[in-house]
């Protein structure tokens, strides 16, 4: 008796198991348009994070092209919008869809995103390339259920051609395969008072600064090419000078960091060795906005295009100024003039200080997001939830919530001050310039 009962149970659980497998494998009949865009943003962030030797500079550039590809893939399906061909630096032509032919625009996006990701991140692992491929196949299979064969083929062909053309254009911007030479060992700059020094408390083993010529790269928006130099408080190590005061503020803040401020500092640390870097963090928040608001396909795609190009252009200008001013970090000034034993809460990244890359990108991303969504949107940022706590600094990764989009920018900038690696002016100028750069993306003629 007992024996049979046991057998029955086993049989039933086996059946459940089989059913379960079938259920897992079964594809839904449809997928919301915005979700196609969002799932490609997820994949973009995974590749950004999981590709070795990725730098915040190269990552930001890729986000620009990957975001733009989303937009160009679907723009022809929305009559009131137009392509950015002729509006972006050096982008004179892109393939066009056949007139009066049917397309599945999510399917075009699906193919184009897969193509651009695998091309621009050619250096990523085979495992990651398989992941890109699997996502494409899965989304294709879902969309195929409601798409005829000819439309599907046409959509895929257009997606491929478009992504290849965008990739081809990307190769001439100065940042193509930039990961091969993150730290140019031939770059030399004679030191001067207040100049950047290789960090003693460093994030990177390189004694050479990251991508010294990144500022010469071609920006997406032509207006972002020749922006005027921002003002920089001139070097004066005397106690009481404005310059000294900038560092004194960093020093005093570090002495009295609250646990919340420490959490904020590591939350935005966005170390490119283990995360998707600051640009990716902002792309992540753009994705959170898309999932929260569930907008149309064109609006979703436009979100990623604007944020991607905004952070890319922000970094090009940021790097231009970083190497123009070649300014020191608090870790160089404070031990020399204020307190020899001082050390920042967070280690120094391997490049000059002014202006802050985090602030300029966050200022830029927030500005373009505000152009598309209500600034008063409440957002929860779970980008690093689940990461192992920071043992060295005895601090957890705690989700952050924001009452408005602009608050993201402010807290990002503040986090660098709490981390002790940026002065208030680095952040202030970063935010201001980020807004200006983003505005040059916003004012492109997106609509006819």
């Amino acid at each position: 008796m007992n024996y049979f009962c046991g057998f029955g149970l086993m049989k039933r659980s086996l059946l459940l198991l089989v059913l379960g497998v079938v259920q897992c494998d079964s594809l839904p009949d449809g997928i919301p348009d915005h979700e196609v865009a969002a799932q490609w943003a997820d994949m973009t962030l995974h590749i950004t994070k999981d590709t070795p030797a990725n730098s915040p500079t190269f990552a930001s550039r890729c986000l620009g092209y990957i975001g733009l590809t989303q937009y160009e893939a679907v723009v022809h399906g929305f009559p009131e919008y137009q392509s950015l061909v002729g509006q972006l630096s050096g982008l004179e032509e892109l393939p066009l869809p056949e007139a009066n032919a049917r397309y599945s625009w999510p399917m075009v996006l699906n193919r184009a995103e897969s193509e651009i990701l695998a091309s621009i991140y050619i250096q990523t692992s085979n495992q990651n390339k398989k992941k890109i491929d699997s996502l494409e196949k899965r989304i294709y299979a879902i969309l195929k259920k409601s798409t005829d064969q000819a439309t599907a083929e046409r959509s895929n062909a257009f997606g491929t051609a478009l992504a290849r053309a965008i990739f081809e254009w990307s190769t001439t911007d100065g940042g193509h395969r930039g990961y091969l030479n993150n730290f140019d060992t031939d770059f030399k700059k004679e030191p001067f008072p207040g100049s950047w020094k290789p960090p003693l408390f460093a994030q990177s083993f390189s004694h050479h600064p990251l991508h010294p010529y990144w500022g010469e790269n071609r920006p997406f928006a032509p207006q972002n090419k020749n922006l005027p130099l921002p003002d920089f408080i001139s070097y004066d190590p005397k106690e009481g000078s404005s310059y000294y005061d900038q560092f004194l503020k960093v020093y005093e803040k570090e002495r009295q960091l609250t646990q919340e401020e420490k959490e904020l500092a590591i939350w935005w640390s966005d170390d490119p060795d283990v995360t998707f870097s600051p640009g990716g963090h902002l792309y992540y928040l753009a994705n959170a906005m898309v999932r929260k608001n569930q907008p149309t396909l064109i609006h979703s795609a436009q979100t990623f295009a604007r944020v991607g190009m905004a952070v890319a252009d922000a970094f090009i200008n940021c790097w231009k100024w970083k190497y123009h001013f070649f300014s020191e970090r608090p870790n160089t000034f404070i031990p020399q003039f204020i307190d020899q034993k001082w050390e920042s809460f967070w280690p120094d990244p391997p490049f000059p200080a002014f202006p802050s890359g985090h602030a300029i990108q966050a200022g830029a991303a927030a500005t373009v997001l505000i152009s598309l969504y209500d600034n008063k949107t409440a957002i929860i940022d779970s980008a690093h939830v689940g990461r192992e706590r920071d043992h060295v600094r005895n601090t957890e990764f705690v989700a952050q919530s924001f009452d408005s989009i602009w608050q993201i920018a402010l807290e990002t900038a503040d986090s660098r001050f709490f981390g002790g690696i940026h002065t208030p002016q680095d952040n202030q100028v970063g935010l201001e310039q980020g807004s200006i750069i983003a505005n040059n993306i916003v004012i492109l003629a997106w609509k006819k």
């Binding site: 070795p52 250096q123 060992t185 030399k188 020094k197 408390f201 004694h207 050479h208 050390e343 060295v392």
Partner: protein
């Protein structure tokens, strides 16, 4: 005598400026008698280490390669040629790299070096680490390491292939030697900075290049009868990675086997430093850095070993960027290691690489030399440290003793240049990549000490390694203990000190007792040892403690006998 004393006092009382002058002159005289002289030029030393693309190096190993009783040197040069410097006995050197048949080394960008008699033929051989080839630009800098076997006739033969070193292309830093399995053949631990490649690099794609900057595992080479070095990382339970400057073999827990400290750069960001406890006679190591307080999350560049508090347990000075660490272990318990750099007066801001303890002033305690230098190409001059032990503290006196060099200091090693009983010093300096305020070349410092007695002890291992790596030597003078451990290399950043133990004894004219503890624990004692001599000690024949589990066997036999007896009595009863 008394009269003269009174006279001097009278002069002092009546003429303060003169008193001052005399005191000053006297102190100058005392300083001259204690300090160091840079004799690089007169000794014929012309060397600097040139970095490959802003990377690391280099080091110096002390060895007497022709067994003439004078210690010779091997200096790595990086992009510059290495040098095999024969000590000519008159305080000068001659580079015999070419004469010794070692020109193959010129094809490589070298890093660290250690000397050991790998094949136990009575002559010290050389193990040299490399990071890449010199004349062939490689997209990813990697190369095999090198072993040169001493032929006993002043020449070396490169036998890397025969020893099995050509199987991996690595970016190697420090090399240390120690007998891990106590078979008498020196085993090797090599630290790697960036990830390595088995079987070389055949196809290079963008993916290969972006992976090249990852942390690396090290190599544990077990020496098979002096014929082969077999990589046995996994076999010995090792699985760690890091941006490593290599390890130091040492017996931290006084159980007479070779444990291993592994120094890692960027410990706060990548992998912290490790402490590996040898499980001998069981095969393998156990990671104990956390429980021992040695999981340092710093830029660990090198380690120097000494018993700074005289408790018979070894302590470790770990070099770092900014502030060095003095990891001291308490004899009572013993407790985990605690950083006491501050209380020892060793906490001075700088960037340190090599470090070596020695009783430079022969007053009966160990002083500490630390070689400092900025990250190259940053090139802000910073001077070396000479920490003189004074009571329970150290005092930085590089200026007073003539060791305040501002070059880009890296590896350093101690040895007795002219066999006069005091420790001289070879310091490796890097050539500055950018403009530099002062000359930065390697230096040979002659110790000018004229006071204080000494004792040098040279071990000849028979069951242990020929140099007695890891053997512990203790002297006792009027109850005062001094401890030395025979250095297996990489103790002073990519360098290898003399394996002749050196003790300063001050005014004492004899060592009351001298204790040698060979690896495995066999002890030899000598009493009333005369000073100012080189004592050579051969390891006696003693029964080798076997791996056979006698204890377990005895316990099992007792149980079996008991059972048999019990059964017998039971059977009788029934």
């Amino acid at each position: 005598m008394e009269k003269i004393g009174k006279l001097v006092t009278k002069i002092f009382k009546n003429n303060f400026p003169l008193t001052f002058l005399i005191a000053w002159l006297l102190s100058c005289g005392a300083l001259l008698a204690q300090g160091f002289t840079d004799i690089s030029k007169e000794a014929g030393l012309e060397h600097y280490f040139e970095v490959y693309e802003g990377m690391f190096g280099g080091g110096v190993a002390v060895l007497d390669f022709n067994n003439d009783g004078f210690e010779d040197l091997y200096l790595t040069g990086g992009m510059q040629p290495d040098q095999l410097l024969l000590n000519q006995g008159d305080g000068s050197f001659e580079d015999q790299l070419e004469k010794a048949g070692m020109l193959k080394v010129l094809d490589f960008v070298t890093q660290g070096v250690a000397a050991a008699d790998f094949n136990r033929d009575g002559f010290k051989d050389l193990f040299i680490t490399t990071i890449t080839l010199k004349n062939k630009k490689q997209k990813i800098p990697r190369a095999q390491n090198l072993i040169f076997i001493n032929q006993g006739d002043g020449t070396f033969v490169e036998e890397s292939v025969a020893f099995g070193l050509d199987q991996t292309s690595s970016f190697s830093t420090g090399v240390a030697v120690g007998d891990v399995n106590r078979d008498g053949y020196p085993d090797v631990y090599v630290g790697n900075y960036f990830t390595d490649y088995d079987g070389g690099l055949k196809e290079i794609s963008d993916a290969t290049i972006v992976n090249a900057g990852k942390t690396a595992k090290g190599y544990l080479y077990i020496n098979r009868k002096g014929k082969k070095l077999v990589e046995s990382y996994e076999d010995y339970g090792l699985n760690h990675r890091g941006f490593s400057f290599g390890g130091v073999f040492t017996d931290f827990d006084n159980d007479h086997d070779m444990d291993l400290i592994v120094n890692n750069d960027f410990g706060y960001k990548a992998k912290p430093s490790y402490l590996l406890e040898n499980q001998y006679p069981k095969k393998g190591f156990k990671y104990v850095e956390k429980s021992q307080g040695m999981d340092l999350r710093i830029n660990a560049m090198g380690a120097a070993t000494a018993d700074v508090d005289g408790d018979g347990w070894l302590d470790y000075f770990i070099t770092n960027i900014r502030f060095n660490r003095m990891m001291v272990r308490d004899s009572i318990a013993p407790t985990p290691f605690v950083d006491q750099a501050n209380s020892y007066g060793l906490e001075l801001f700088t960037i340190s690489w090599g470090a070596v303890f020695a009783d430079f002033d022969l007053d009966g305690d160990e002083d500490l030399f630390v070689s400092n230098g900025d990250l190259n190409p940053n090139c802000v001059p910073m001077h070396n440290f000479y920490f003189e032990k004074q009571g329970s503290k150290f005092e930085e006196k590089s200026l007073n003793v003539g060791l305040r060099d501002y070059g880009l200091g890296r590896g350093a090693a101690i040895f007795d240049l002219e066999n006069d009983g005091d420790m001289d010093l070879l310091l490796i300096n890097q050539k500055a990549v950018m403009q530099y305020g002062t000359e930065t070349v390697s230096r040979l410092y002659r110790n000018e000490n004229k006071t204080g007695n000494y004792l040098k002890v040279k071990l000849h291992g028979t069951q242990s390694t020929p140099s007695g790596f890891g053997a512990r030597i203790e002297t006792f003078v009027q109850g005062h203990r001094q401890t030395r451990e025979i250095d297996g290399g990489n103790s002073s950043h990519l360098s290898h000190n003399s394996t002749i133990a050196h003790f300063g004894l001050g005014e004492h004219t004899q060592v009351d007792s001298l204790k040698i503890t060979w690896p495995g624990g066999f002890q030899q004692k000598f009493i009333e040892v005369p000073v100012n001599q080189l004592l050579e000690v051969k390891e006696p024949n003693y029964s080798h403690p076997s791996n056979f589990p006698w204890k377990t066997l005895i316990i099992i036999s007792i149980i079996v006998v008991a059972i048999l007896k019990f059964r017998a009595s039971f059977m009788v009863k029934s």
